[in-house]
Symmetry: C2
Subunit: 342 residues, 2 copies
């Protein structure tokens, strides 16, 4: 077992003081070139690694930011994490990721763990509207800035980075209507904020086209478990069929819902898009491999992550945190594919 050298060790070896060594390594103007060279070469040779923990204790900066998401292994989230990660690497920040699993208490715990461990800032996609408002507020008050991403309709005052859910949903709905569909089944997840806005956009588009919203053509699933989502959708479709209520298109409000819907329709031998068109919010990387290839509203996930990080950094580095916060809404892309083409 090889011990790591410390400044003290180097100082002793070179018969210098600790402070001289420290200053040499940080290239201080106070130190002569010859000494600097001596120290640096010695440190290099002996593979000196500064102790970041000690440095953090001294400086108060952890160079770490915390990230809280509902689930690491969601395609959508992992793409955002990828963006955060890229941006953080450029700035020499480390990220610590915690999962809330869409549970307010786990979210509270995650915030607490990060606070205890010490972070310079927090990026969070909150569980719900105002979840753990006080904890987040406390965090801000103790000097640790917070930036929201993805689920931006939380009441806390800070920068927020997401998309215009209402507009994106409006456009997707319009796409269906424009292709002649009239009876659109809206399948969504229990209110996770963004889905509420998507529903608003959906309804507004119907209204603008003089179509009345029909509660029969609305389904709200429990978020999370695939099996349950599949069952709900299957049940709903069967119910509609039994009632002779026509459906000629489906709007899927989340990644999982949309893709699962396609699977179910295939299973039920329903012809997509001839019988039923499908469009949905989705960031999966293989829409073309789906049955049939899925028309999607694609979010700029990587950009969301990067922008959120940059905004956070902005606050961290601003001495006097300005009171003006922005909510940034990035553009989504509507990509029509076979599931809506006739």
């Amino acid at each position: 077992m090889i011990e790591r050298k410390t400044l003290k060790d180097i100082a002793k070896d070179l018969k210098l003081s600790v402070s001289t060594v420290s200053k040499s390594l940080s290239d201080s103007y106070e130190i002569s070139e010859s000494t600097k060279k001596l120290v640096k070469e010695y440190a290099e040779k002996h593979n000196y690694i500064p102790n970041k923990v000690a440095r953090t204790l001294k400086t108060g900066k952890t160079n770490t930011i915390g990230v809280i998401v509902f689930n690491i292994s969601s395609t959508f989230i992992s793409q955002i994490l990828d963006g955060i990660h890229k941006a953080s690497q450029l700035e020499k920040y480390d990220i610590i990721i915690m999962q809330s699993r869409d549970d307010v208490n786990l979210e509270k715990h995650a915030i607490e763990v990060l606070r205890i461990r010490g972070i310079d800032g927090l990026l969070i996609s909150p569980v719900s509207y105002n979840s753990n408002f006080n904890q987040l507020r406390d965090l801000q008050d103790s000097g640790i800035p917070v930036v929201l991403f993805d689920r931006v309709n939380h009441n806390i005052e800070t920068h927020k980075v997401g998309i215009d859910n209402k507009l994106s949903a409006y456009e997707a709905t319009k796409h269906l209507l424009d292709s002649g569909k009239k009876n659109i089944l809206h399948i969504t997840a229990k209110n996770i904020g963004v889905t509420a806005d998507r529903l608003l956009g959906f309804k507004k588009c119907l209204k603008d086209h003089q179509i009345e919203f029909d509660n029969n053509l609305y389904l709200e699933c429990d978020y999370g478990k695939h099996d349950e989502i599949e069952q709900s959708i299957t049940k709903k479709l069967k119910f509609l069929k039994s009632k002779n209520i026509k459906v000629d298109a489906i709007f899927g409000a989340t990644d999982d819902i949309t893709t699962l819907t396609l699977g179910i329709l295939a299973e039920m031998n329903i012809d997509v898009p001839r019988e039923i068109s499908v469009i949905g919010f989705s960031n999966i990387r293989i829409p073309n491999s789906l049955n049939p290839s899925l028309s999607t509203v694609v979010q700029p996930t990587e950009e969301i992550g990067m922008v959120a990080f940059q905004k956070l950094l902005e606050i961290i580095n601003s001495k006097y945190p300005k009171e003006e916060f922005e909510t940034i809404e990035l553009k989504t892309k509507l990509i029509p594919r076979k599931s809506t083409l006739l």
Copy 2:
């Protein structure tokens, strides 16, 4: 901006010494119940949060483990991360994730960053056979244990957690042969260790069935970019067709390759499985939504993550690291679906 209280603050407020306060909070037997109560209640009331950095500096334990993967946003990897995360939460460990992006130099950098930051152990899915062997070895020598997962055929001596790639590939191949297929195109990624083993299993199965391996029925793609993979596969299929070389099944050696293949076959109007059967290693969560639903070799990703973490913890907590390391091969599941059923 609210300042956090320290032990010193509490001591001053309560007119006690720092050590009394420290001991009280850690429930030391040396302190009277009344004092403990006083201190604890005061700390609670004033929302005292211990400074973990200081504690780490003192104790030398960071309670953090590093994880290095090639890409956070791979479905397969994010599922493993999920497992690691779950296990780490139970043990009050934090995880710091770094990406190698399948680049030896980035991997080296990631190891270095983690070493500097301070971790109690490292979980890594290495870029390649023996990548950064010396860095990892140094890490171990300096008392930071390393456990490999997923890509376990690296020469370093430690615990390794993965699957039996050769056997799994053998069984998948057998499944194709059993259903009457004979001309199987093996599509794989440039050697990332595991794929080499999968090829071995594939070849062995052919041999056991007296079928000669045909180099024409082998395609190696560049790992990573979807577009390039798609192009390679399309080109290969067209080439085989032009040469009148029959293909009645495809074996996909990685997640991406397999799903992309399905998309391409649909695009080319090739009937799956009648014309061509498809099976592949894949951990996507929506195989049923694919066109047609994909037969898969599924890895126990969450378990891989959890076991790897537990093994790492074992080494961390063992005072005298035993020299006996195991390579754990978890079971995969072969799930036949429509893409191989006739």
